[in-house]
Symmetry: C2
Subunit: 372 residues, 2 copies
């Protein structure tokens, strides 16, 4: 059985970014396992979906690309594009794996995680058992849609199950959910020439807030404004959907808490998010869960129930902070790596940020390869 110091589960942006931080610790034996392909979630995005955070190559002047998983790379640089598709972003992640020779094993599903008396983790995988002193869970949320948001939600098709909006050929659809994925579904259906009824609980674009975790991004806001002008969109606000059922004639009845209801010929589209904890649900018993269904973590992002088990990615919460974008959750990588190096008495000096090199307005020294 192969033994590692640190095993990362999941080779998406969280897992790969974390691995690039761990790689800065000399003599650390670490590896990644991934049940699908590198960047699997991104390869499953609808064909038409683009990043809502813009990428830009400002690295030589000390501003990291919002969607990069390490300091030096840039999706904008990689793809010469501002809003990447999921496929291109997965290619960017794959490029990083190749360039940095990261030890990733793909097509390797973790079947079971157990802890031993000797404070080790033993993982049963499709490619045999693995043991590790520390495990970092990086399985994201996209592949874990909430398919039970309300009674009859299974009559709907979830955003995360859509391969391409070209498959939606009926004259009109109803979309349930007014945040990023609901707006993206709406915008793309309208681009395909469809009529859309969008049922929204709370308008995330009314500027109650500007934090992208709770308010619509500028990119979606602008696309929505265009969609509004198309004449193909009807938005209904204040809708708390409680039930979807199929009628005798095959149509669907959507019912709201305030007794309003709508009939629709075709499967409603569900854009109501992901299960609490996302992929961390796969090992639910190894975390403590709070009353709101969130995972409880130490300040070091370690499970409060299972020492040695860490969480990275969009499900991380610390007090009121939500780390649900790449530029947010990536900032936890160095802290976790530093703690692990400390625990194992390994050299963490390469993880120290160089003081003054990176600032809010850039480094004063030009880095290698800078042509400016």
């Amino acid at each position: 059985m192969q033994h590692l110091d640190v095993l990362i589960v999941g080779a998406g942006p969280a897992g790969i970014g974390m691995a690039l931080a761990l790689q800065k610790i000399p003599d650390l034996k670490f590896g990644l396992v991934e049940r699908g392909r590198i960047g699997e979630s991104f390869r499953r995005w609808p064909l038409e979906t683009r990043f809502i955070t813009p990428s830009f190559y400002s690295n030589p002047f000390g501003l990291a690309d919002l969607n990069a998983v390490n300091e030096h790379s840039s999706p904008a640089h990689f793809a010469a594009m501002e809003h990447l598709s999921g496929e291109l972003y997965a290619d960017y992640l794959n490029m990083l794996v190749q360039v940095h020779k990261l030890p990733v094993v793909t097509g390797c599903k973790v079947l079971e995680v157990n802890t031993t008396a000797a404070k080790e983790f033993v993982l049963e995988t499709e490619q045999g058992p693995l043991s590790a002193r520390y495990v970092i869970w990086a399985t994201g949320e996209y592949q874990f849609p909430d398919l039970q948001a309300f009674t009859g939600a299974d009559y709907c098709v979830h955003y995360a199950q859509v391969a391409t909006w070209k498959d939606f050929t009926a004259p009109r659809y109803t979309v349930i959910g007014g945040y990023e994925s609901g707006v993206d579904a709406t915008v793309n259906l309208i681009k395909q020439g469809r009529q859309v009824r969008l049922l929204v609980r709370k308008a995330s674009w009314d500027r109650q807030s500007d934090d992208p975790s709770v308010a619509l991004s500028p990119y979606s806001r602008e696309r929505l404004a265009q969609a509004m002008q198309s004449g193909q969109l009807e938005v209904i606000f204040g809708v708390d959907v409680t039930k979807v059922s199929q009628q005798d004639d095959g149509s669907f009845l959507i019912e709201a808490a305030d007794d309003r209801n709508w009939q629709e010929q075709h499967q409603p589209i569900l854009a109501t998010g992901f299960v609490n904890g996302g992929g961390a649900q796969q090992i639910a018993r190894l975390w403590e869960w709070d009353e709101a269904g969130k995972i409880m973590l130490t300040e070091a992002d370690e499970s409060t129930l299972t020492p040695g088990l860490f969480l990275v990615g969009p499900q991380v919460r610390q007090e009121d902070r939500i780390y649900c974008f790449i530029y947010k959750f990536r900032q936890r990588f160095a802290m976790i790596a530093q703690n692990l190096a400390l625990c194992m008495a390994l050299d963490s000096s390469q993880l120290d940020p160089e003081p003054g090199v990176w600032g809010p307005f850039g480094n004063s020294e030009c880095c290698e390869g800078c042509e400016c």
Copy 2:
């Protein structure tokens, strides 16, 4: 005559960003004069022009907006938009002036700058004389187009003289210049339904480089790709225009160095950039100029000829570095302010970057007003 410690000339992003840095020095007497309105150049952009660097409000996680002029503001936050218009960006600058109560005098053109034996600057302005120990020149480049790029260039209309592309109602136009403004002109003319012939010396979109100072931005690249597919665009490469002349029938003849030539019914559009030194040409005798026509500066961005005179903005060069975007030139503000505080024995401690608070991947502490 009013006397100041530091006078900034120009209330665009360079002047206002610089003023916000100076404001952190207690007891410093400083002011700004602006011949037009706040953000004048941006108010003169063509109506349809948008920023090519995307804005995004990632401030609470320690990544400054690419187009912000200080650490805490964000054009994306201000306008709920990713690619601002010139008018909205000028409004953002005006908001900063109001919120921070910056001492800006608008409609105050500087007519003459003289140095005295007592190492003071005396400026004659439309609103009377002013004296200052230090002058920071922040007059940008947009209002100083190069109208003599080749013989007969004055037959053309320069990009910076265009109010709106809606005024261009002829069926077709020729655009000279293949960098950002040439591509922007082309894209907008095509949107208005025009045919465009684009004459390009060197394709800045062929990815010889990824630095936005020398290569086309992703935003323009994508818009150009769309324009290419419209069937309304003819791009001709390797064209070094040497002459434009008007024919007897009123049409224009465009001649290239390799003897190719093109005839055009309507005024060609000039997108060949700005005069060397931009607005710094207004006080040309106070700078030393190198053989390439660039302004020579000390490492502190001070004139090598006139001690006490500083340059900020897109014309700043240091070795091979070109500071021609906001996210580039803004990083010089704190350095200049620190040097001035040192010279005047004033407290510069508020200018010191807080170590570890801002990093490439964000601050670990949440800042005030962070809702995430």
